[in-house]
Amino acid sequence: MTATTPTADERLVDVGRLRRLLIRPELGSIVGAVIVYIFFTTRSDIFGTVDGIANWLDPASTLGIMAVAVALLMIGGEFDLSAGVLTGSVGLMTALLTTRGGMNLWAAIFVTLLAALAIGFINGMLVVRTRLPSFIVTLGTFLMLQGLNLGLTKQITDTVQVGGLDKVPGYHAAFKLFSSTIKIGGSDFRVAVFWWIGVTAVATWVLMRTRPGNWIFSVGGDVRAARSVGVPANRTKIALFMTTAGAAWLVGTITALRLTSVQANSGVGQEFTYIIAAVIGGCLLTGGYGSAIGASIGAIIFGMADKGIIYAGWDSDWFKFFLGVMLLLATLTNSLVRRFAEEARK
């Protein structure tokens, strides 16, 4: 081994560009997205038009923001089951503070941001301090938030929804920032789409090009080893829970301002959708591996399936079935591709 001078570059050739591409975690999701896109364009004339794209990017955007944050958390080796219901809590809190509490809308948006970050911090602290699985800890906070959302809303409003956000001062400016539409190519694109692109870009940069990004991979890969080389594992995990909560705040605010009223059960059940999108995008359930772009592509697949089924003229009940098939296919592709890539490298 020492006899050959280390000419590593010369041997790089046989690793190959193709294989380099294949080991990207998002590969499975890209293939899946292309297949789904082609499939629905053959079933519907509108699906592939600018109008159609704007239409299916709408559900993809809010889901995508959450999926990216959840992907970071999963790469860091944790789950957050409270993320879905937290989007509802944020909306309800904003609506209650403004319509019932008389608070200025911008102030309320800021207060709910702090509250959401605090919940993320509590989730993170509980997981880090107790060393219990985050699946259980956040299942606990999920149920608590679900109860609070219903209980408090009923007690304050005597109904299970809070409405009238559009009559609050400052609504139009806030609506413009979070929930309006922008005309591109003759079609209305939701502004949330641009929030989503921004979130994906920042998350990818943090993950691939910063110190905390390296730490996220390491705490998900092997937290003990990470600690032993001086990675602030606890701080990294808490920051990840707070990031997820911050994303839930953004999505909760976008949804509440758009609908102008918030249901007490809003967001419940979404937490698994975020995880599914992240997994389709190449995240390992065991942590330490995945990508933010992949999670976004997972969200695109969701959006396409959600609207595509309607465009194709099918009963929307088929959506869930379709989702299950996608999830299975994507995870199978991911694991096959990864095995192929790693075998071939040896």
Binding site: T7, V15, W205, R209, R211
Partner: protein, 301 residues
């Protein structure tokens, strides 16, 4: 550079450690010089792990003196040892299998450029430094982007050693770096141990295989049930003597004698000489991980 004339980097005199009523180590003395390799040999439960933990700052010794660069020191934690240039490469290596070689190399000490929110991991420089450092150790990694999990055990050990050297280690404590490896891989790791020595580092090489220790070592500290069986310079001991002491000396002779009565198994006595009969149950401070005994075939380069 022979390791007998370099400056003493580490020295322990009469070190002892007790866990409750259990004597884990008693009256251990040895020295590590710059450019020298001190081998610590012992069977399972001999106190090797306790000895490493004292040297690397995990446990404070209960008695005796621990000198670093000639100064008596009391280390509070492993970080302090690291700051003084004493790096420990444990068997499990503290590497993340799913992360690439260069990411692992800089994990916890990432190179950055830029300021404030634009402060970022300097990927190009990190790859260049990792490649250079590995090449200087003579380690040939095809692709720095490949996950550490795809490297062989020997390559992983080598990367961990190169990383410790790069981050300023002057004393390298290697915890059984060859024990989980095949014959060829162990030879590769031994080469890097010698490389580190040639760069002027003091090396403490923990092993239970005298055939790995003897070709590279300058000093041999033998441990048995927490006591020192002797601290020899290479000139004062032969491989055969080292092997005999490792295997328990008189105990082995008794065993060989018993076995020799049957001529068909007479050859097995020779084999057992390098294949220490483990008796970890007798020592409550035994290493929890019972290492599989190494085959004693000539694996050292």
């Amino acid at each position: 550079m022979t390791g007998t004339d370099g400056a003493p980097l580490l020295e322990v005199r009469g070190i002892g450690k007790y866990f409750g009523s259990v004597v884990a180590l008693k009256d251990i003395s040895t020295i590590v010089r710059a450019g020298g390799i001190t081998c610590v040999l012992g069977d399972n439960g001999a106190g090797k792990s306790t000895f490493i933990k004292i040297l690397s700052g995990v446990h404070p010794p209960d008695e005796g003196e621990y000198r670093i660069d000639g100064e008596p020191r009391k280390l509070a934690n492993p970080r302090e040892a690291l700051d003084l240039g004493i790096a420990t490469v444990y068997q499990d290596l503290a590497m993340i299998p799913l992360m690439s070689v260069w990411r692992n190399f800089f994990l916890g000490s990432e190179l950055t450029r830029g300021r404030g929110p634009l402060r970022r991991f300097d990927v190009r420089a990190a790859k260049a430094v990792a490649r250079r450092e590995l090449a200087e150790m003579g380690i040939d990694i095809r692709d720095l982007d490949q996950p550490v999990g795809t490297l062989s055990g020997g390559e992983r050990q080598s990367v961990a050693i190169a990383r410790a050297v790069h981050f300023g280690a002057r004393v390298l404590i290697l915890d059984e770096p060859t024990s989980a490896l095949g014959v060829k891989q162990a030879g590769v790791v031994l080469r890097y141990v010698v490389q580190a020595r040639d760069r002027g580092l003091g090396v403490i090489f923990i092993t239970h295989n005298p055939h790995h220790a003897y070709p590279v070592g300058d000093r041999f500290l033998l441990l048995n049930r927490g006591r020192s069986l002797g601290d020899y310079a290479k000139a004062d001991i032969t491989l055969a003597e080292l092997t005999r002491l490792m295997a328990g000396g008189a105990e082995l002779e008794q065993l060989a004698h018993e076995l020799e009565r049957d001529p068909t198994t007479a050859a097995a006595g020779q084999h057992l000489a390098a294949d220490p009969a483990a008796d970890p149950a007798a020592d409550p401070a035994a290493d929890p991980a019972a290492d599989p005994a190494q085959p004693a075939t000539g694996s050292a380069p």
